[in-house]
Point group: C2
Chain length 396, copies 2
C-alpha cells in the first residue's frame, strides 16, 4: 500500500509507461503513384529518393508512436520546431546491397543502431530499441528494393534521422521528436577507378574539441565544416584534414559528401608495416568502415584470416599521429600510403596534404590504392556485396 | 565588345543577377481566423505565437524571392532538407516593446541584423541587406502589434531564423534556403523580483573552442548544451558556466531559455570598482545586451552620462578571468557581485558557482541585484521601454 503510494508519487513513475518502439504497430500506406527509378548512370549522391519513407513520432508523455511507411513527401514542421532553431538532430548512414542472386543485405547495421542511440543520448533525444528500428528499416527496404540499381558497385543509401520537434522555442530536452528514414539509390563513389584526393591540413578552424560532440554523429558536426571546405577548395584541396592541438595531431577528414573518413596510416617500421589510425579519444567518430578495416587487418595479422597480397608482418596501431611524424616519414620514404575510410567511398586514397604552406606528397599505387588498402578493400567490398560470405552481411 | 564577352564568360558573371532582399515585393495574406491573445499572466516563454509570420525563400540561381507575410502555420520541408540533417541554421532574438503612449519600438535591431549576416557567412548561408529585413520585420510587428501585452515588463519576442533547405543530402553550401520570422508575446523574466541563479562551473563538456563557432549565433551552439544543462540541474544548479582551458577561464553561461548570458564581473581594485567581462576572443557571442551594459558603464565612467547610484570610480575591463581569481576575490571579500546579460532576462544575477566540488558564494543585494548592475539595469530597461529617450530605441 505504502509502496504503491510512493510509486505514484515518484517523479520516475511515468517512465515505464512510455511506449517502446514497436514494429508490430506498423501501418503501411502504399504510394499509388510510384516513380520510375532513373537510369543508374544519372544518379547524383543524395538527390534521388525512393517511393516510400518511414516515420515514427515520439512524445514525452506517451513515448514512441505508430510507425508508418508511407509515400515519400514533405514533412510538416511548425516554424517553432526545435530542430530548426537549435540544431537538435542526428543521423546515420548505411547501405543496402544486392548480390548477384538478388539477395538484399545491410552491412553491420547493428553498429549504426548502437551509434544512433549514443548520438541520441548526447543530444537529449529519445533512445529506442535498435533491433526494433532495424526491423522497420528492413520492411522499408523490402518495399522499395527495386530501387537498388542492378549495376555493380551500386547500392541503396539508407538515411535514418532523428529530430527534436517541440513546438516551442526553448532550449531543453524536447517533448516531441520525429524519427524518419529515407532511401536514396547511389552509384559507386569512384565510377572510373580510384581517384586519390588532396587534403588541406586545417589549423584555422576546428571540427571538434575535447569535451565536445566530435565522437557523435550529430548534425552539429557538419554545417560548420562547409565554410572551411570552401576555403580548402579555393586553395586546390578537396577536403579538410582536421589537425588538433599544438602538435597538429591528425583527427578526421571531412568530405563534401556527408561522410567522415578515417585516416589509417601506414609507416614502415623496421621489417614490418604499421597501419596507424588515431584512437577514439572523444573527438573522432567511431566509424563502421574504420572498425571494419581494423578488424580485417587484425584478423590478417593474427593469422585468423589471411588476406591475399597483404604484407605478412603488419602492426595495427590506434595511436596519435602528428603532422611532424607524417612529414618525417614521407621525407624518409617510409610512408607507404594514406587513406580514409567511410560508408560512401569505403576506401579513399590520399596523394597530397597541404600543410603550413607546403605540400606533403603521399605515395599511391597505379590504380590509386596502395599495397595495404587494396587487399583490405577487396575483402571488405567482397563482404559488402555478398561475394564473400560473412556475419557482417545481414539479410533484409 | 571584348569586355562584354569576358563578363559573360566569367564565373562570377551570375552573381550580380541574384535578386537582393526587396521589401517592395512584399505580399501580405491576412489571417482570416485570427486568434485571441491569451491572458498575459498565462504566457510561457516561446510557447505562444502571433497570427502571422514572415517567410522569404532564397535559391542559388535567382537569389532572394518574394517576401510574404501570411498566417502563422507549418512549414513544408522535404525530408532531405539540409537543416534536418546537417544543422545548417542560425537565428536571432530581439524584442519589440510598447511604451505607455502606445508607441512600439525595437531595441538596437541593427546589431541583430549585423550579427545575423555574420552568422550566415560562417555557416555558408546567404547574406542579405539588413535594413531590408528590418523593414519587413517592422511591417510584421505592425500587423501583429496588438499581441504585445500591455502589462509592464512584457514584450513581443522576435525570432528571425535562416535555414538551409536544399532538397538533397549532401554537405555543402545549400542551393536553397528559407528565412522566416515568428513573433511570441512574452512576460517579464522575473515576474516577482530578481531571483539570483546558481551556476555550475563546467569543465567536463565544452560549449566552444578556438577556431569553432562559439562567436556566432548558430543553432549548433545550442542543442549540445542540453545534456550538460541536465547534468548541472541534477546537481542543483540552474545553468552551466562554461570554463575554458587549463586555467578555467570563464566564458559564457547557458540558460535553459535560449539566451547566452554574459558574465560581467566586478572586483574591487584599490579605490575603484572593476566591471570585468571576458573579451570577444572568438569563443564568445557578441551579445547586444553585453554591448549595451559596457556602453552604459563606459558613458558613466567617462562622465558622458552619469548613472544615478553607480560608483564614481568604475574601471571597465574586457579581459580574461579565471576561476582562481574569482575564488580569491570571493574569499577576500573583494567580489561585489556577478551577473549575466541577455535579451531575455536583461540582467541575471548570480549567487553561487559550483566549482570542483565546492560552492563559491557571490554577494547579492536585497532585491537580488548588486550596486553596479542595479543602476545599469535601471537605465537599460528605461531605454528599452521608452521611459528614457535614446537612439537605441527604434520606432516600428
Amino acid at each position: 500500500m505504502t509502496g504503491e503510494l510512493m510509486s505514484v508519487l515518484s517523479p520516475h513513475r511515468r517512465r515505464p509507461q512510455l511506449s517502446p518502439l514497436e514494429p508490430s504497430r506498423l501501418e503501411i500506406t502504399r504510394n499509388t503513384a510510384p516513380a520510375t527509378p532513373p537510369p543508374s548512370q544519372t544518379l547524383v549522391f543524395g538527390h534521388t529518393f525512393t517511393d516510400h519513407m518511414l516515420t515514427i513520432p515520439w512524445d514525452a508523455v506517451s513515448g514512441w508512436g505508430t510507425p508508418q511507411i508511407k509515400p515519400y513527401g514533405p514533412l510538416q514542421l511548425e516554424p517553432s520546431a526545435t530542430v530548426l532553431h537549435y540544431a537538435q538532430t542526428l543521423f546515420e548512414g548505411m547501405k543496402a546491397y544486392r548480390d548477384e542472386a538478388g539477395n538484399v543485405t545491410l552491412f553491420r547495421p547493428d553498429m549504426n543502431m548502437k551509434r544512433m542511440n549514443n548520438s541520441a543520448r548526447r543530444i537529449a533525444l529519445p533512445t529506442f530499441n535498435g533491433d526494433a528500428l532495424l526491423d522497420l528499416i528492413k520492411q522499408l527496404v523490402r518495399i522499395d528494393k527495386h530501387w537498388i540499381p542492378k549495376e555493380p558497385g551500386h547500392s541503396l543509401y539508407v538515411r535514418p534521422t532523428l529530430i527534436g520537434n517541440q513546438k516551442a522555442i526553448g532550449v531543453g530536452p524536447p517533448n516531441e521528436a520525429l524519427l524518419f528514414v529515407i532511401l536514396s539509390p547511389v552509384g559507386p563513389y569512384y565510377p572510373s577507378g580510384f581517384k586519390p584526393v588532396a587534403l588541406y591540413g586545417t589549423t584555422e578552424f576546428v571540427r571538434a574539441a575535447p569535451g565536445g560532440t566530435g565522437a557523435f554523429k550529430l548534425g552539429v558536426n557538419y554545417a560548420p565544416g562547409v565554410l572551411p571546405q570552401k576555403s580548402a577548395a579555393a586553395l586546390g584541396y578537396s577536403q579538410n584534414l582536421w589537425l588538433h592541438g599544438p602538435e597538429h595531431h591528425l583527427t578526421e577528414v571531412t568530405e563534401v559528401r556527408p561522410f567522415r573518413c578515417w585516416t589509417p596510416r601506414r609507416l614502415t617500421v623496421s621489417a614490418a608495416t604499421e597501419l596507424v589510425t588515431p584512437p577514439l579519444d572523444g573527438m573522432i567518430l567511431p566509424g563502421v568502415t574504420r572498425d571494419s578495416v581494423l578488424a580485417l587487418a587484425r584478423e590478417h595479422a593474427s593469422g585468423k584470416k589471411r588476406l591475399p597480397n597483404l604484407a605478412d608482418k603488419l602492426i595495427i596501431s590506434e595511436r596519435g599521429v602528428t603532422m611532424k611524424e607524417v612529414k618525417a616519414a614521407a621525407a624518409a620514404g617510409r610512408l607507404v600510403e594514406m587513406f580514409g575510410a567511410g560508408t560512401a567511398a569505403v576506401i579513399s586514397p590520399v596523394d597530397r596534404i597541404g600543410y603550413m604552406g607546403e605540400d606533403v606528397h603521399i605515395p599511391t599505387g597505379e590504380d590509386g590504392m596502395g599495397p595495404v588498402s587494396r587487399p583490405i578493400w577487396t575483402e571488405l567490398v567482397g563482404r559488402q556485396w555478398g561475394a564473400i560470405a560473412s556475419e557482417w552481411s545481414v539479410p533484409v
